[in-house]
């Protein structure tokens, strides 16, 4: 995507929101027709990998080792996965992890439950028993039944290894680790087939649809029932899909899908390398960071799934969950000594909504101080899908004064010096006022009312909407017309693994209208997307289907001048 240095570009997408109108909500798919997207090949993300292993082999299996880092593209790792491959170093890591898992799967504790038969002799090959195990396990790992050739390869591999090492289970172990490093497992490889209803066009096959559905709604590999539905051809019909979507959206596991989406959208992978200076922020620790993420995800799932609430309330809700450790950061007494308890902030408390939680505040700050610029950029890119342009080259940053300068006690004063420079002002006017609204919270998320003994002022304006303080700011974001537009776009991209195309703008507008009409209900939005034709539609090769990405999406920018 070509970048423009004009900050005006940010607002191009608002035209979208202008199209929102509160029309009636027809339940049937009278949505605009799209051209669809490519058949995708997506590498499993680390959380997906971990979840699949837990679902296939049980939660007592540890997943050792570390993973090749994921790429973020158009605001989401889910989109980056459609670009990723595996390097030699990465495969080496996958291999180590696979061997670690495989050894546990066949160990004496787990074999009794995970291996469905007992070999004739534990010291030799038993191809019939191995085949039983491989057929069952392979189907869940490959998200479809193994082909005859794949079965033959695996059974032969397990048998020969067992014979050579004199141990049936060692043979199975080798087979499991081979499946776990194979491309059929590491990549969600979709397959298309001729569409009997539309001559000359293709459609996703049932197993590919099952995977899209399952990873979208449940963040894991398809379960046996979904695979059975695919096998029977149920997923080739709208009613068959509707039945599965109904089952899956009514399952408690929907929360896992919602969590996975928000962890991705909120960039929680960034916590892996996040550090705070322990001398400046002694309360901050990796456990605080872990709890902070969990707090935000609990707040969201409680609001959106459990209470089927309004997405916009995520920015203003006073309800949350705390651990005792988080309580110490927030200055709130927490009775429960281990685990979580619900908490509701007082009406005059400056904390409200997920933007004022430690996760957002600490993730978008420097190690030793807050950064209104980084927070402003993050809010624009993460929640409003607006792209903030990169800073220009050869700029003299001496304009931004040091913190010791007596004339500039607060970040607002320092950035003010910045904003008066025309080269910087264009973009900083977009980012800074937003971030300055959150200046009552330091880099670790702690509250403060002054900086260098000067009172922090949090009043400001965003996109023409004025606010007096942090609480007013959260209300402005709550009412920002771009927020629901952005969410719909992101959820769709999360499910399809690609940025929406220009061709899909009308369809997305339609979905936004439905979302608004539904009262901003996220599970309903996910249900609509998962039941829609657009979600599964495959573009015909050679047509103009792979057209330009819709320009609203924020891409993975270099956040240089902000650091």
């Amino acid at each position: 995507m070509v970048m423009s240095n004009s900050p005006m570009r940010l607002f191009g997408a608002l035209g979208f929101a202008a199209a929102i109108a509160l029309t009636g909500c027809g339940q049937k798919d009278d949505a605009p027709v799209t051209k669809g997207g490519p058949v995708s090949l997506r590498r499993l993300t680390e959380p997906e990998y971990r979840q699949v292993i837990a679902d296939v082999f049980g939660t007592t299996i540890k997943v050792p080792g570390r993973f090749e880092p994921d790429i973020r593209d158009n605001g989401l790792i889910a989109v980056g996965t459609s670009r990723e491959s595996v390097a030699g170093t990465g495969l080496e890591q996958y291999d180590l992890t696979a061997r670690g898992i495989a050894a546990q799967v066949v160990d004496e504790v787990h074999r009794t439950t995970l291996v469905p038969c007992t070999p004739a002799k534990a010291t030799d090959r038993d191809d019939a028993c191995a085949a039983k195990f491989i057929e069952r396990t392979g189907r869940l790992l490959f998200r479809r039944p193994l082909s005859q050739g794949e079965m033959a390869t695996q059974v032969k591999g397990a048998g020969e290894s067992a014979a050579k090492l004199g141990n049936f289970y060692s043979g199975l172990e080798l087979s499991v680790s081979a499946m776990l490093v194979s491309p059929q497992f590491l990549f969600r490889q979709e397959a298309a087939q001729p569409d009997p209803d539309n001559a000359g066009q293709r459609r996703l096959d049932g197993y590919s649809k099952a995977s899209r559905l399952s990873f979208f709604l449940w963040d894991t590999t398809p379960d046996s029932e979904l695979l059975d539905a695919a096998a029977k051809g149920d997923l080739d019909t709208d009613s068959g899909i509707a039945k599965q979507v109904d089952r899956m959206t009514h399952s408690p596991r929907l929360a896992a899908g919602v969590r996975a989406f928000f962890s991705d959208m909120l960039g929680f992978d960034g916590f892996t390398a996040l550090a705070k200076d322990p001398q400046i922020y002694p309360k901050y620790s990796s456990q605080v960071a872990a709890d902070a993420q969990e707090q935000t995800l609990r707040t969201l799932t409680d609001l959106l799934v459990t209470n089927n609430g309004d997405y916009r309330d995520a920015f203003t809700t006073r309800k949350t969950y705390l651990t005792r450790l988080l309580g110490s950061v927030y200055g709130v007494p927490v009775m429960t000594s281990t685990g979580w308890e619900p908490h509701e902030y007082a009406v005059d408390d400056p904390r409200a909504g997920i933007l004022m939680q430690v996760s957002f505040l600490s993730l978008h700050s420097h190690p030793g101080r807050s950064s209104p610029t980084i927070r402003g950029k993050a809010l624009r890119e993460v929640f409003l899908c607006q792209k903030v342009p990169d800073p220009p080259g050869n700029v003299n940053f001496a304009l931004v004064q040091d913190t010791k300068n007596p004339a500039f006690h607060t970040a607002r004063a320092r950035l003010g010096a910045h904003i008066n420079q025309p080269t910087c002002a264009g973009c900083h006017k977009i980012m800074d006022p937003v971030g300055l609204a959150m200046e009552n919270f330091d880099s670790a998320g702690g509250f403060r009312s002054t900086e260098n003994d000067s009172l922090i002022v949090t009043a400001g304006e965003i996109d023409g909407m004025k606010f007096d303080d942090a609480s007013g700011f959260t209300k402005v974001i709550h009412d920002h017309p771009q927020a629901p537009v952005c969410l719909v776009n992101r959820i769709y991209s999360f499910g399809t693994g690609r940025a929406a195309s220009k061709d899909e703008a009308e369809w997305l507008n339609y979905q936004v209208k439905q979302f608004v009409a539904s009262g901003y209900k996220v599970p309903e939005l996910m249900r609509r997307i998962a039941s829609s034709k657009a979600f599964y539609r495959i573009s015909t090769p050679g047509t103009d289907a792979n057209n330009a990405t819709l320009s609203m999406a924020g891409t993975n920018t270099q956040t240089e001048a902000l650091k």
Binding site: L174, L186, G393
Partner: protein, 445 residues
């Protein structure tokens, strides 16, 4: 300190292989080498090794470049730590990145231009220099290349095999040590060698994966075919690692890794970063000495340098932009402190390579280390006069001991010089205005 590499061979062998079947290592005899120690006795020259050493936020113009040009030079104030190596390395000043109207992305454009010969608009488009080199000199070792970074993010690796595949970096010296010298390491100097049946079995099972390549490639479109092909390239590398573990390695005098190191705390605090880099330096040097790899990539830290002193709010990168120039000194003293620590660590790395004796020479003599930043003057993201150094003699394939001033010349001339001196058959490198067919002839042998 437990992390210190001790080159005593007994000490070495004790820590290795989890106490398994390693008998007392025979002392490596010089008869394995030819008379001047530059080659194995059978006439095979010790292989050339290539390395990169990258740091973010440059050095101060006027304070790092030698005052004189040519062979008779001295290091400047900020590079004084490199003075002991001045005859065994080259300083290249004045080089520049051309943007061709593409717009600079601070701290990203420079590193891409130097290592891929290209200024990408968004994502990188090409393989990096070290991967190109590794495809020629690194195909017979266990590891095609090894990557490390000092500030905690595995994504801070500049080594990439293609537009879509990068080689993530190790962030922990202890983990790197385990990877290289852990259970899968075969000591070249061990008296006995028995192929591990489990490795044999793994090798054969892995070929089951490879066998599916054609069938899988047929099912996907061109872009995805390339991605799957990259995956299968990785599988071949893994197979090769196993093959290497199944062969008795040739003895190597200088191969003597020490015991498992203990990491300094991971993160961005400068003392810890330097301490971990010192551990990395020793592991990487020994990995090359033990012929586990021929290509190494060191990223001192993220390009937007997050280095900081404990208890301070300002990072190296923020300082380069926001610290006022000291009117008397003419530079930013706090930012410059970090530059000093970086150069000192580079000197330690070269010293470590030089401490490994191989016949008459040292590991540094058969290495070529490209050390560079991504900007000249970080304060303004200058894309000119980027500090670049070529250290080591590359086994006699490159001249050393020179300061070459290349004002306004494209940075890609360094990459081309590296490739040609390492025997890669390429006559030009780089895209658009960065395309060059001129190596730095002063350095060519």
């Amino acid at each position: 300190m437990s992390g210190t590499m001790n080159s005593s061979r007994r000490n070495v062998l004790r820590g290795m292989m989890g106490g398994a079947a390693v008998s007392v290592g025979l002392p490596f005899l010089d008869c394995f080498l030819n008379t001047n120690g530059t080659a194995l006795a059978n006439g095979t020259a010790l292989p050339v090794a290539f390395g990169t050493f990258f740091w973010g936020c440059g050095l101060n113009p006027g304070r790092w470049e030698p005052k004189t040009i040519g062979t008779n030079y001295d290091m400047n104030i900020e590079t004084a730590a490199l003075q002991p190596f001045k005859n065994r390395m080259n300083v290249i000043s004045g080089m520049k990145v051309f943007l061709d109207g593409k717009g600079a992305r601070p701290h990203f454009t420079g590193e891409m231009a130097i290592l891929t010969g290209d200024v990408p608009r968004e994502q990188p488009n090409y393989a990096s220099l070290d991967s190109i080199v590794a495809d020629t000199i690194g195909t017979r070792t266990r590891f095609r290349s090894l990557e490390v970074t000092g500030t905690g993010k595995p994504t801070d690796s500049l080594s990439r095999r293609s537009a879509s595949v990068s080689n993530p970096a190790e962030i922990s010296p202890a983990a790197l040590y385990t990877r290289v010298f852990g259970a899968d390491f075969r000591d070249p100097n061990a008296a006995d060698f028995k192929p591990d049946p489990r490795v044999m079995v793994r090798r054969s099972v892995l070929s089951g994966v490879t066998d599916q390549r054609e069938a899988l490639l047929k099912q996907v479109g061109a872009n995805d075919r390339q991605r799957l092909d990259e995956y299968f390239t990785a599988v071949r590398q893994l197979e090769q690692q196993l093959d290497i573990q199944l062969q008795k390695p040739a003895p190597l005098e200088a191969c003597s890794p020490s015991a498992q190191p203990t990491d300094a705390e991971l993160g961005t605090e400068i003392e810890n970063v330097v301490a971990n880099h010192k551990l990395f330096a020793q592991i990487l040097a020994h990995a090359v000495a033990c012929d586990q790899t021929h290509v190494t990539n060191v990223v001192f830290g993220e390009a937007t340098s997050p280095l900081r002193k404990a208890g301070t709010a300002m990072t190296h990168h923020i300082l380069t932009h926001e610290e006022p120039m000291d009117a008397k000194l003419g530079y930013q003293p706090q930012a410059t402190y970090f530059m000093g620590r970086i150069v000192e660590t580079l000197a330690f790395y070269l010293q470590t390579l030089d401490s490994i004796k191989e016949g008459d020479g040292t590991l540094l003599d058969r290495s070529l280390i490209l050390a560079h930043s991504e900007t000249g003057f970080a304060k303004i993201h200058a894309l000119e006069n980027i500090p670049m150094f070529l250290a080591g003699g590359a086994g006699g394939r490159i001249k050393t001991g020179m300061h070459v001033k290349m004002d306004g010349e494209p940075v890609t001339r360094v990459g081309l010089t590296v490739q040609q001196s390492l025997g890669i058959p390429v006559d030009s490198w780089g895209t658009m205005s960065l395309a060059t067919s001129k190596p730095i002839t002063e350095l060519m042998v």
